[in-house]
């Protein structure tokens, strides 16, 4: 197991000029905001699922299922934010949705807790951060597969299978402490059970519908969520101690902000990971003078910059984007 804390110093990250008093206001948890967001998501997911079911037999069933898949894939944003314990003030709600939304996309949630902790401590530090989105040089074929969660989905499923039979995946060995293995195995078994239910129902009823409603939507509806996830870090420089250089913040429409739980404020999220999703836009405004300008739109300049950089990195793995940082606070 790697012990990065023995290699590098933790407290080197750039922090904005925000007083403790101000930060405390942003840190406040709020059950109502969490319940409203997750409740609305459940209603929209249920509504789009009902619509898709009603439209079976018509050509409109395809866009209806696509809408359902896009909403379903937003489970990614919910479990991510719940992993920080900041969606709800009531902690068991964070734990419940962390596990359930993770299971919706075949994730071992014990594995992820430790992986994501390391991602935040050593964001884009090569050889230590397990969540660097692309290798150097990047494999564009694998990258494109993940627009439909094919590569990472298969890896996630393989890890769930291994962990459910008590074998630790090579990836998890690098960051999950041994005393957590038992919990990880049980978590994987629970996810596997949840994923098996619709598969069994599909066989029993000789119908694709159960898996089209649970499990598969994370694949056929993944492209919007993956575009957003890729934009967070892909193509940006490794081994930097400044989240302004190795994360992207975007300016998005309210619909995308809802689907991503305001995580488009990604520099701000990495700088202050305990600030809840509903406070991120305000925090972002407050520290904007110290931040690079935000990329506009999901499929805008950042998207083209990311692809251009990945193509250049194929030939020159050392190449990365140098963002413009406000002079006064470099």
């Amino acid at each position: 197991m790697i012990h990065p804390e023995q290699i590098i110093e933790e407290e080197e990250w750039f922090k904005s000029d925000l007083s403790r008093k101000e930060l405390k206001v942003y840190l406040k948890r709020n059950n109502y905001r969490g319940i409203f967001h997750v409740g609305l998501w459940i209603v929209l997911l249920g509504g789009s699922g009902y619509l898709a079911f009603q439209l079976i037999g018509t050509p409109w069933v395809i866009p209806a299922f696509l809408l359902y898949g896009i909403l379903y894939s937003s489970c990614n944003a919910i479990w991510h934010e719940c992993s920080h314990g900041t969606v709800f003030k009531t902690d068991w709600l964070n734990s419940f949705f962390y596990f359930f939304c993770g299971a919706m996309e075949i994730r071992d949630m014990v594995d992820f807790r430790w992986s994501h902790s390391r991602h935040h401590s050593y964001t884009l530090h090569s050889g230590i951060d397990p969540e660097i989105p692309t290798s150097r040089p990047p494999n564009l074929f694998i990258f494109l597969l993940d627009f439909f969660y094919i590569y990472n989905g298969i890896i996630a499923f393989k890890n769930i299978l291994l962990h459910s039979i008590g074998i630790v995946s090579s990836k998890a060995k690098a960051y999950v402490p041994e005393e957590e293995y038992k919990n990880m195995f049980w978590s994987a078994r629970a996810v596997l059970l949840l994923q098996l239910i619709p598969i069994i129902l599909s066989f029993v009823f000789k119908s694709m519908l159960p898996v089209l409603f649970f499990g598969l939507p994370r694949f056929y509806g993944a492209f919007i969520q993956f575009t957003f996830i890729a934009l967070q870090h892909a193509g940006l420089p490794e081994n930097q101690w400044d989240h302004r250089r190795n994360c992207r913040s975007l300016k998005l429409s309210p619909i995308f902000s809802f689907l991503f739980m305001n995580m488009e404020n990604h520099i701000e999220h990495h700088m202050y990971p305990m600030v809840p999703f509903h406070a991120l836009p305000k925090l972002s405004k407050r520290i904007s003078a110290e931040m690079p300008s935000k990329y506009k739109n999901l499929f805008g300049s950042g998207y083209f910059e990311m692809f251009k950089t990945l193509i250049i990195q194929k030939k020159n793995p050392e190449y990365s984007i140098e963002k413009s940082i406000p002079e006064a606070v470099k």
Binding site: G85, D91, W114, H116
Partner: protein, 105 residues
């Protein structure tokens, strides 16, 4: 109690209700808290990856690590949530004459 040496940490006004303040002495980090039950002190670094707990969030008599939301009970330093590893050591603390004090052996 009589064998403790009391160190002045900050003015009383600098530690609000449900908040934490950091204190460094001889290379060691401490965190002092004001909660409804009184003034408390623990080790100042998270037992997961040594993040400074004085940057964390006081929530229902617990301190949450600013990095990965490990949580420790303020009264006795017990780990309440992963990725916290070992419990935090606790120390004597008090409020007296308008100041917050940390008692060390």
């Amino acid at each position: 109690m009589n064998d403790l040496t009391w160190h002045k940490v900050c003015d009383s006004d600098d530690l609000e209700m449900d908040d934490v303040v950091g204190y460094n002495r001889e290379g060691k980090y401490y965190a002092l808290y004001r909660i409804a039950d009184g003034i408390f002190a623990t080790d100042g670094l998270c037992t997961h990856e040594q993040a400074n707990l004085c940057d964390g969030y006081v929530h229902k008599n617990s301190i949450e690590c600013p990095k990965h939301n490990a949580r420790f009970r303020i009264h006795d330093g017990k780990v309440l949530r992963k990725p916290g590893k070992e419990d935090l050591a606790t120390y004597d603390a008090k409020e007296d004459e308008g100041f917050i004090w940390l008692g060390l052996p």
